[in-house]
């Protein structure tokens, strides 16, 4: 009998331990996913912040550039750089035949002409002389240099030819290949060529969309929250508004994309693919988030504040606008930032309103066609080229960086400025 009891007790204790273990392993699993995730993104993405350059001697031959004696600045700008660019690439291997010269040309990006031109414009005295110029390596060689490219594939299965690899290895041995910080990733717009693709256009698109979203969603949401929390009578209509808000917060984002497409583009004829339409669509999505946050922080302001103001003879509107609303601002602002962070990461609705179009210019206003950072991730992730994989990860790192900064900012506002009522 006693033994039986002990056995039972042991069994119960074991069950207790097991249950606890389940809980621990669940948390462990969740954190493990997070770690794998971040590790994977960082390990594939960090190399995109480096860019490979080939150092090629270029002879600025005035004759080949079709330049007269003592050219002016304008002449230099209009000069023909293609031939000297081509020649300096071909000179890497004096014995190259025509096909091989073509292969040599493809070892650098198609910006090589522009890079040589910039060099001369910086220092016009170079005419007739030879100088080592940094040229952006093609994305495949970039990947080879970073060790991401399987060299042992048969030649017909890779985009780099054996000949290109041979010349490239020679250059590496001579120390003519260098890896430097990839500034162009931040300053160039999108491009079909991985080595020239940057996030400048999508970054500006994101900024404009978020600004439009903020300018629409914040005022409307705060006013709506003030009405619902402070003035709304308790009746069916108010209930209906509340049900609507709670529902909108849980409607799938793609439905907002259909709204943007069906109403903003089709009925109001707003321009397609622009941050303006994207921002309006996102603002409709963020609206409920901000309203809920603002109402919560209005609710947290103790009634004694309101009563004190009313007792001093302030009207209801004065009490609200002078006391309740300012006191609720820290909570509202941090809720707004969190809502904007959500909007910043949103992709599907922007795809539907056409912000996936290929844009190779940097937008200057919300009315120019643009992509956004998450859409850029999608576009690059769908590209087949190997060079884009690390770009996607790097773009994700930039996006995550922004989200982290925004969330930290929201936390700081909440902890620093929010009054604790006790």
């Amino acid at each position: 009998m006693n033994k039986n009891k002990e056995q039972l007790l042991n069994k119960r204790y074991k069950a207790e331990k097991r249950f606890r273990l389940y809980g621990q392993s669940a948390i462990f699993m969740a954190l493990l996913f997070l770690t794998i995730f971040i590790f994977k993104i960082f390990s594939t993405g960090y190399s995109a912040f480096q860019k490979t350059w080939l150092i090629v001697p270029v002879t600025f031959d005035a004759e080949l550039m079709m330049l007269e004696q003592n050219p002016s600045k304008e002449d230099l700008k209009d000069a023909d750089y293609y031939d000297i660019a081509l020649k300096s690439m071909a000179d890497l291997d004096p014995n190259a035949n025509e096909d091989q010269e073509n292969e040599l040309k493809r070892m650098v990006s198609y910006f090589f002409e522009r890079e040589i031109k910039r060099e001369l414009l910086n220092d016009p005295s170079l005419i007739g002389k030879t100088k080592d110029v940094y040229l952006t390596a093609s994305d495949d060689l970039d990947q080879v240099f970073k060790g991401n490219y399987p060299r042992d594939l048969p030649e017909d299965q890779r985009r780099v030819t054996d000949y290109q690899l041979k010349i490239f290895d020679q250059l590496v041995e001579l120390g003519k290949v260098e890896s430097k910080f990839n500034l162009s990733f931040f300053t160039y717009p999108d491009s079909r060529e991985a080595e020239l693709a940057g996030i400048a256009s999508s970054f500006m698109g994101s900024i404009f969309s978020i600004l439009v979203c903020l300018m629409i969603a914040f005022p409307v949401a705060v006013l709506a929250a003030i009405y619902l929390e402070e003035f709304a009578p308790k009746n069916r209509f108010t209930d209906f508004i509340e049900v609507n808000i709670n529902n909108l917060a849980a409607v799938p984002s793609i439905v907002f994309g259909l709204l943007g497409l069906g109403i903003l583009l089709a009925v109001f004829q707003l321009p397609r693919s622009t941050p303006l339409v994207g921002g309006i669509t996102l603002s409709l999505m963020t609206l409920p988030t901000i309203i809920i946050a603002c109402r919560a922080s209005l609710k947290a302001v103790p009634p004694s504040i309101r009563e004190a103001a009313l007792a001093m003879g302030a009207s209801k509107m004065q009490t609200t606008m002078h006391h309740t609303v300012p006191l609720s601002m820290p909570g509202t602002l941090s809720g707004t930032i969190i809502g904007l962070a959500q909007a910043l990461g949103e992709t599907a609705p922007l795809i539907l309103i056409g912000m996936v179009a290929f844009v190779n210019t940097i937008p200057g206003s919300p009315l120019d066609p643009a992509a956004s950072l998450p859409v850029q991730i999608y576009i690059w992730a769908e590209s087949a080229e190997r060079g884009f994989v690390e770009k996607v990860s790097a773009c994700i790192m930039v996006l995550l960086g922004f989200l982290i900064i925004m969330n930290l900012f929201a936390q700081i506002i909440r902890h620093k400025f929010e009054k604790k009522w006790s």
Binding site: F19, A30, V251, G262, S315, I351, Y378, L399
Partner: protein
Amino acid sequence: MNLILFIFIVLLGFTSYYFGRKKAYTIQSTNKRLTALPQFYGYYLAIWCAIPAFIIFSLWAIFEPTIVKLLILSDYSNQGYLDDELNLIYEKTKALSRGQFTGEITPFIEASAEKYLSLRSIAQSSKAVIVLSIIIASVAYAYKKISSNSRTREPVEKFLKAVLFTASLAAILTTVGIVFSLIFQTIDFFKVIPLFDFVFGTHWYPAKAFVRDSSEALDPTMYSDTFGAVPIFAGTFFIAFIAMCVAIPIGLMSGIYLAEYASVKVRQYAKPLIEILAGIPTVVYGFFAALTVGPFLKEIGNSMGLDVSAESALAAGGVMGIMIIPFISSLSDDVITSVPQSLRDGSYAMGATKSETIKKVIFPAALPGIVGSILLGVSRAIGETMIVVMASGLAANLTLNPLESTSTITAQIVVILIGDQAFGDPKTQAAFALGMSLFLVTLCLNIVALRVVKKYREKYE
């Protein structure tokens, strides 16, 4: 032009505020008692400036294009053009006047474009004149009115309250907007495709419905067996099911552990860390699923001799499950913490261990709230787009094999609507019909879930 006018009106508003306040001070200096603080006199005048400006601006925005169009097209009225052709002429005219017209320029259209430009400039200048004169008149009227020291605070506050109320209608407007944007296209779609074929058909090949020539009559037989949504619905629920298989055990157990077992310190760090998972954009999950999880599963499957598609439902569903973990864990954490302590104490007093208390007492008490949180998770899984678009297939297979690729409602909407859309084409309308069904399903789930959670809260608070 509009911008200058707008800035001018804003400046006028500020001046009228200034004059209103000044008037109040003058009244005050005659030792009369004011009925409101001086700035209310200013606000009062500023509102009298803003309202007429707003009304006229919106009237103009609504009526100007229609009137201009009518005037332009009146030149073509007796030449027997069809409505569509007239619209085309009008669009050409507009494009030409903006200098964006590429095509053959006929003298007719050129004349219309000139007329269009002159009409626009007449409209603009008349708008400016009308707005300014009405504003000045109304401000002058209001200025005279307050000289008798009338009430100003009440109307100003009433106006503000009206503004607040209008803002709170934004939520309703958005819902109405969603319904409107979906319903017309959906109705048009079901005029061509019978509802029965859509709900019970088992073949979904929207690519078959190529963009047709708009002059040809619509031939419904062309679309038979094209828009059967069963594979899509099945795929959606299947992927959501896989996601919930991952999310429910992990999310629920971490919620329970955080609420009942974890020390303050563990809770302080683990909770926000898990919630990071909810803050990661879905496109990032999609990339992760497509680049890492898909190929990984394929490799494992191949080593076991299974034929795994690189874009399997398992990869998309699994990653989606990871995304939903924090929704379930924080909601169930909240729900469990709000179970009254007295229930726990009672159970411990009877000699129950912690896990027995959780399983037999707390869990049943918290069940409605937990079910609500799971339903919200399901609604998220059904509405999730990017993970499926990037990691699962885009062809709609009717299958229950998690190793094959399937497609979902959201993924099909993206596939159909990416790139250029032709409104009025059954293919585009199909996307809206899918959107409608998605909206209805998630709406039901949300309403039920929110109601369950609310009822539960009321019970213990």
